[in-house]
């Protein structure tokens, strides 16, 4: 996906800022989200991603700048006039209504005839696999079931854009992974633009077509998961999305001969014997294994190199056992990686 994407723009942020007193929650953000995309806003808490989502929904209005929804300026429009729906972090199900009534709420507001309403509610209940639970109250449902009701309540209105505010945050790991797959499948089925707020980089990488990485109210990078992971533009992106070794410019000089800081993914580094030769397309450094962290599927080695760079190296436990792995502690080694894996970043 490039700047000249032919697809229709669903959401366009132009120079949007939002201040709370002296705090710049969102600091002049410009962003295009295309029709039909699964787009994630990724960042640590307080980075402005949720405020951006709330501005799209209409719960906050921007201090300056413009927000367009399919070409229409919406920044001053109240939430009830926008054709977007939200899945809330705490689900926000109405406790005094049963599942069916919760889901039918948006249709009731729009005075959809009863027959039509009942049909759409039962269809969506089937889709989220809650057919039998229509008469239950939210308090009688499990966390995962509530999450599905919240999703159904938003989707039944066929919004142009669906906003999801960390919807899986309260679920346990297994359920979360299952829901990630389901959400993605539902998005592909209904073809609605999903905007997904999360602080979980793995979730963002798994589900998104594209994502924006937020930090301190600004967007650090926008791209596909592979682009953001493989070619991080800043040291923040490199460290927040996945794990990264960050080598500062003065130390980088000792490796590359250039004083430009770079990042290096731990899985790109190989461990060999200290006397191994260095291929022409690789960098190589001698060092000692300071510590070993055994993680079952793979092992994380912390290596002190002779030039003073500390590197984290991840090696899959292909044939090695845990006792072999632990025996590597204090052992002299050589680390090797292809020059192409160095990513020069802004500090």
């Amino acid at each position: 996906m490039t700047e000249s994407d032919p697809r229709q723009v669903a959401i366009r942020f132009t120079n949007v800022a939002r201040h709370f007193g002296n705090v710049k929650a969102v600091d002049h953000v410009s962003l295009d989200i295309y029709d039909g995309e699964f787009f994630s806003l990724l960042g640590p808490s307080g980075s402005g991603k949720t405020t951006c989502l709330r501005m799209i929904a209409g719960f906050e209005s921007p201090s300056s700048g413009s927000i367009q929804l399919y070409g229409e300026e919406v920044s001053t429009m109240p939430p009830y006039e926008r054709d977007v729906n939200t899945v809330f972090q705490d689900y926000a199900l109405f406790p005094h209504m049963n599942v069916q009534k919760n889901i039918a709420y948006g249709l009731m507001v729009k005075r959809v005839p009863r027959k039509d309403r009942e049909r759409r509610v039962s269809e969506i209940l089937d889709m989220v696999q809650l057919t039998a639970l229509g008469k239950r109250k939210p308090s009688q449902l499990s966390g995962g079931q509530r999450q599905r009701v919240a999703l159904a309540r938003a989707l039944v209105n066929h919004p142009r854009v669906l906003l999801l505010d960390e919807p899986l945050g309260a679920l346990d790991l297994k359920l979360r992974q299952q829901m990630q797959i389901e959400l993605k499948a539902i998005q592909q089925r209904v073809g609605i633009t999903f905007i997904y707020v999360t602080h979980d980089q793995e979730e963002a990488l798994t589900m998104s077509d594209r994502l924006a990485v937020f930090n301190h109210g600004k967007i650090e990078q926008v791209g596909t998961p592979a682009e953001v992971y493989e070619r991080p533009l800043t040291s923040f992106v490199a460290s927040f999305v996945g794990v990264s070794n960050f080598v500062e410019s003065n130390l980088a000089y000792k490796v590359t001969g250039e004083s430009k800081s770079f990042t290096l993914r731990p899985e790109k580094i190989r461990l060999t014997t200290p006397d191994a030769s260095i291929p022409a397309d690789c960098y190589g450094l001698n060092g000692t294994i300071r510590d070993v962290i055994y993680l079952g599927m793979y092992t994380r080695y912390l290596v002190d190199t002779e030039v003073g760079i500390d590197l984290t190296v991840v090696v899959q436990n292909l044939e090695s056992t845990s006792s072999e792995v632990f025996a590597a502690r204090k052992r002299p080694v050589k680390v090797l990686w292809q020059k192409a894996h160095n990513r020069v970043v802004e500090e």
């Binding site: 209409g58 719960f59 939430p79 009830y80 729906n85 939200t86 926000a92 005094h96 709420y105 507001v109």
Partner: protein, 324 residues
């Protein structure tokens, strides 16, 4: 401990079994007994003092009152009930007093709910922590001074040449006041000698009892619910009717129980303010104190109890307690 065993075999603190330790250990193991002991005093209060006296009153309502001797005879009869609801010779007729009192209690309850809701909503939703503190204080402040003093103060405020009249005059609102006082049935010579005045003072004294429960109920409605409602296309008024009101209704009912029952039973305000026509409380006071007709007084006290029971069961049927 003897000197020939210098190393104690067990923890010394476990060996010194002081009585307090024994009791607390015993209670820890028998938690039912501990709960029972904790509840003993409040249960004594509730059963003996409260339910006991209520029962005694109920029993007395079936006693017989001898009109000639003015004696209460401890004999079962329904005379007092007959007298309360049918005797037309009584001045004032009891039925009218009951009607008047219930009407006033209803009016005060509705008025208090209408006034208290926006205030509570502002306190729960929009007021910052400082403003909230000030408002809580403002609501509670009247409860710090004597009820009697406040009622007499209101008599002066509402008097014909009192502060209220002066204020309305300055504001050019005298025609409105005159119009209000001319209304048949609730008007009168001045605010302090009309049912409107009684209503205003009741409204003032019971207001905190309405504001606090509604506020508590509204505080428990998460902000995300109103956001979800507007997100689903509902305008503010729809959100209020379908989400905020149903979820805070238990608070309104709780508040109305206070304002309604307190107005039913009060006998000071109608005797200080208003037309000196009887309200239930005053009637009970007269029958019990002046006349000495204990059974009739008991019957007239049973009346508001029954009204409240009906009121609560209706509220329950309306689902007022579902969201609790």
């Amino acid at each position: 401990m003897s000197t020939d065993s210098p190393v104690p075999t067990t923890n010394p603190s476990l060996q010194s079994k002081s009585p307090i330790r024994l009791i607390s250990n015993f209670l820890y193991r028998h938690s039912c007994l501990a709960t029972g002991l904790l509840l003993l005093l409040p249960m004594l209060w509730l059963v003996v003092v409260y339910l006991g006296s209520l029962g005694a009153m109920l029993v007395q309502s079936f006693y017989t009152y001898d009109r000639f001797t003015g004696q209460v005879i401890e004999e079962f009869s329904l005379d007092a009930y007959k007298e309360a609801f049918t005797d037309p010779d009584l001045s004032p007729p009891n039925k009218d007093v009951i009607k008047r009192t219930v009407r006033m209690a209803t009016a005060v309850t509705i008025g208090a709910a209408i006034l208290a809701f926006p205030l509570s909503y502002y306190m729960a939703r929009y007021a910052g922590p400082k403003m909230k503190g000030v408002l809580y204080l403002g609501v509670m402040l009247p409860l710090w001074s004597s009820y009697l003093v406040r009622v007499y103060a209101w008599k002066l405020i509402l008097a014909k040449d009192g502060v209220m009249t002066w204020f309305l005059e300055k504001m050019g609102l005298m025609p409105a006041l005159d119009w209000l006082l001319e209304i048949e049935g609730i008007g009168g010579n001045s605010l302090s000698t009309s049912y409107i005045g009684v209503f205003l003072v009741f409204l003032y004294v019971w207001m905190p009892y309405m504001v606090l429960p509604i506020n508590a109920a509204l505080e428990r409605v998460p902000k995300s619910l109103t956001e979800a409602s507007s997100d689903l296309g509902a305008r503010p008024w729809y959100t209020f009717l379908r989400v905020i009101l149903p979820l805070s209704f238990p608070g309104v009912v709780a508040g109305s129980i206070f304002t309604f029952s307190l107005t039913l039973g009060d006998y000071i305000i109608p005797s200080v303010i208003g037309t000196s026509s009887y309200f239930l409380g005053a009637l009970v006071f007269t029958q019990r104190g002046t006349v000495g007709n204990w059974p009739l007084a008991a019957v007239l006290t049973v009346v508001p109890v029954v009204i409240m029971m009906v009121y609560l069961s209706v509220a329950k049927r309306l689902g007022a307690f579902d969201a609790l």
